[in-house]
Symmetry: C2
Subunit: 403 residues, 2 copies
C-alpha cells in the first residue's frame, strides 16, 4: 500500500464529465490498495474568466484581491470532485488552503509555500477519506489568501507530497509525459520514460509546459518522486529521476519554446544604476532570464535581459522612471519575442552539439536577438513566428528524427 | 459620523459595471463622513450556475461540498468590489467568513450564525479601510465552510450590524422598498415608508422576496435598524420599525405570494407516528407551514402541512418509508401549489378584513387546498396559475387601489 499524491490540471477537470472520469481514475488507485490525496486546479478557462472580470474594472487591480478572486476557481473544482467521489460511494472531503494549513509568504500572485501542516491530512486519511485539496492557493501568516502563480497547482502537489512523505507525486495532465519537443511542433517528438532532475528543471524554466518550474525545484529539494502521466491514457508517463551516474543520462533531454517575452537592452549604464534596476525587479518579484553584461565598467555598461511581457507591463513605468535619472543611458525594448532552448548535459560534454545548433541557425538565416549558453542549456531569442519551425528542424538534427 | 452596514444583492453586483456603480455608492457614503462595512452576494446567476454543475454530477450531492462550491460565488464578488474601490483611491479590503470569523452551526446549506467576531472588523475600520465582507457564508466550529441558504446575505449583513453595533443596516436591492404587494402583480402597489417588525417578519416568511425572513428575525432579536433601499435609486426606501404603539401601525402591511410548495395530507395517522414525522423533518432541518391537525386522537388523526418542493424532494423517500410502517394511514401529496398571504394586525383587530378576503375568494370560485389564520397573517393555498390574479384583486379590495 502506497500513499500517492495525484494532481489534476485544468484540462483534466475542464467539464463535469471529465471530473467524473478523474473520480473513476482515483477510485481505481484506491481499489488497488493505495491512499490518495488529490490536488486539483480550476476548471480550464475559469482562472482566465475570473481575472478577465477584474481586468474590466482595473487593469492594475490590487494584487491581494486578485488572489481572493482567482482562488475561487479551485474552490469550485475541489467541491465538484469530492461530490463525484462521494456519489460513487467513496468517502471524500475537500480541503482549502486554510483547512490544510498551506502557509506561504505574502507575495500575492507568486507566493512561495513555506510550510504545509500534515495533521488534518493525516487525520482524514486515517479515517479512510480521499482528500481533495485545492491547488494553487495558500494563506500567508496573517490569513490573507495567496496564489502560487500560473501552474502553481503542480507546486501544491509536490509540497503536499513532500510534507506527507508520499511514495510518489503523480502529475496528471493532457499529455502522457515529457517529450523531446512539443509533438505539435514536431511529429517526430519522443516521449522520455525518465528524465534527470537537472534537465527537467531547465526544461520547465524555458517553457516546456508540462511541469511548473517551481514544482520541479521544490521536488528536487525534497527528493520527491515525480511522475507525469496522461489523465486520458494513464499507463505510460515520464518519471523524474535523481540518478547521479552521467553515463545513464541522455545527452539531450529536449527542446522547448517560450513565447510572450520582452527583450530589454540598456546601454551606457552605470553599475550603480544596474544595481538599482535589479533591486527594482526584485521588489516586484520579477524573474529574469538571459541576463548579460558587457562594456566598460563602471559606467559604460551594456546590460540586456529577458522577462515576460506581463512582468514587463507591471514594471515598465518604474523602469522608465529609473532610466530618466540615468544620464547618457540609452535603451531598447522589444516585446513579443520567443525563446528556443535546448536542454541536456550534451551541451557541456559534447561541443559538437552546440556547433550543430549554430550551423542550423545560420542556414536558416534567423535574426538572433540574444543567445546564452550554460552548462546544460542553450537558449536563443528570435521573432515568434520563426521559433516553432526552427525547433522542429533542430529536433531532426539533434535526434535524427525523420520529421 | 455613523457606522453603516450596506448589503448589495446579486442583481446589484450582477455585472462589472454594476459593481463599479456600487463602489461609487459606497464612496458617496464614505464622503458623507460615514464608515462602511459592505456585504455582498454572488453575482446574479452565479450561485445557480455553480449548483447546476454539481447537479450534473449528482442530484443528491454532498451538502458539505455544495457549500464549498456555492461559497465561491461570494468570494468572486468581494474581490471585484474591493478592486473597484481601490481603483477609486479608497483603501478597501475583502474578508471571507473565516477571516472575519463568522461562526455558524454545521447545518450545511441552512446554517445559522452563532457568533461574529468584531476584532478584525474593528481593526480594519480603524485603519480607515472600507471592509467588504462575503455574505451568505460562514464556518462551523471545525472550520468547515457553511452557507446560510438562499438570501442568506441579508442575514450576514444584519449579523455584522448587530455585532459591530452599526447605526443602521441598509439592504440595497433592485426594488426601492417594501410594497403592499409585488408591483409586477398589481400596479396599484404602494411603497411603505415604514413597516413594523412583526409584519415584516410575517411578510418575509410568506414569500415577499425583498428580505430574507431569517435576517428579519435576527434583526428583531438584536433591535438592528434595518432599511431597504434601491441600488439604482437610493433615496426612498422602507425602514423597519420597532414601534410598539398599535395606533401608529398600518392595519394591513401587505400581500405576498409564494410558489413552489408541496401540500402533504396524512389521514388515519397515530399521534406517535405524527411525532416520528416531525422528528424526521426536524432532522433534515425542513421548515413547515400551515400545519393543521384534526380527527380523532390518538390514532385517527388527519394532519396536513406545507413545505417547499425542494425540501419535499429531500425528505420524500424517508417520509414514504415512515408511512409504509403506519398501518391504515393514507396520504395525499400535491406539489407545485402556491400560497397567497395577507399580513397585518388588521387580521386580528378587524374581523371584517378576513370577511372581505373570504368573500372575494368565494366570488372568484377558487379551489382552496388549505387555509390558516393567525394573529397577523391569513394564508390560503391554491393552484399556482390563480394566485397572482387573486392577489391583485385582493389588493384592490383591501387597499382601495384602482388597479
Amino acid at each position: 500500500m502506497a500513499l500517492l499524491v495525484q494532481k489534476f490540471g485544468g484540462t483534466s477537470v475542464g467539464t463535469t464529465e471529465r471530473i467524473e472520469a478523474v473520480a473513476d481514475l482515483i477510485i481505481r488507485t484506491v481499489q488497488a490498495g493505495h491512499k490518495v490525496i488529490a490536488v486539483v486546479s480550476a476548471m480550464a478557462g475559469e482562472t482566465n474568466r475570473l481575472l478577465g472580470l477584474a481586468q474590466r474594472i482595473d487593469v492594475k487591480a490590487s494584487a491581494r484581491e486578485l488572489d481572493v478572486l482567482a482562488a475561487a476557481g479551485e474552490q469550485v473544482s475541489v467541491a465538484l470532485l469530492a461530490i463525484a467521489l462521494v456519489k460513487r460511494g467513496y468517502p471524500a472531503v475537500s480541503l482549502l488552503a486554510d483547512q490544510v494549513c498551506i502557509r506561504t509568504d505574502n507575495k500575492f500572485g507568486k507566493a512561495r509555500i513555506e510550510h504545509v501542516d500534515t495533521e488534518r491530512l493525516a487525520q482524514e486519511l486515517e479515517q479512510g477519506h480521499i482528500v481533495v485539496v485545492a491547488g494553487f492557493q495558500g494563506r500567508d501568516i496573517e490569513g490573507n489568501l495567496t496564489t502560487l502563480g500560473r501552474g502553481g497547482s503542480d507546486t501544491s502537489a509536490v509540497a503536499l507530497a513532500a510534507a506527507v512523505q508520499a511514495d510518489e507525486c503523480q502529475i496528471y495532465t493532457d499529455v502522457d509525459g515529457v517529450y523531446t519537443i512539443d509533438p505539435r511542433i514536431c511529429p517526430g517528438a519522443r516521449r522520455l520514460s525518465q528524465i534527470p532532475f537537472g534537465d527537467m528543471l531547465e526544461l520547465a524554466s524555458v517553457g516546456a509546459k508540462v511541469l511548473h518550474s517551481r514544482s520541479v525545484e521544490y521536488a528536487g529539494r525534497h527528493r520527491v518522486l515525480l511522475r507525469v502521466l496522461s489523465t486520458f491514457r494513464p499507463d505510460a508517463g515520464t518519471l523524474m529521476t535523481y540518478e547521479e551516474d552521467p553515463m545513464l543520462l541522455p545527452l539531450i533531454s529536449g527542446i522547448a519554446c517560450q513565447h510572450g517575452l520582452t527583450f530589454l537592452q540598456l546601454q551606457a549604464l552605470s553599475h550603480t544604476d544596474f544595481c538599482r534596476l535589479l533591486n527594482l525587479l526584485a521588489a516586484h518579484n520579477v524573474e529574469t532570464d538571459m541576463v548579460q553584461q558587457y562594456g566598460v565598467w563602471p559606467d559604460q555598461l551594456t546590460v540586456q535581459l529577458v522577462l515576460t511581457n506581463s512582468d514587463w507591463l507591471q514594471v515598465a513605468d518604474d523602469v522608465q522612471n529609473l532610466l530618466k535619472n540615468c544620464r547618457d543611458a540609452q535603451h531598447r525594448i522589444q516585446a513579443n519575442l520567443a525563446k528556443l532552448s535546448v536542454v541536456g548535459i550534451g551541451i557541456r560534454s559534447q561541443p559538437d552539439v552546440v556547433a550543430r545548433i549554430h550551423q542550423l541557425l545560420n542556414q536558416l538565416n534567423i535574426q538572433i536577438w540574444a543567445m546564452t549558453q550554460t552548462e546544460s542549456r542553450f537558449s536563443v531569442l528570435m521573432a515568434p513566428e520563426l521559433v516553432e519551425g526552427a525547433a522542429a528542424k533542430l529536433h531532426q538534427v539533434l535526434f535524427n528524427s525523420d520529421n
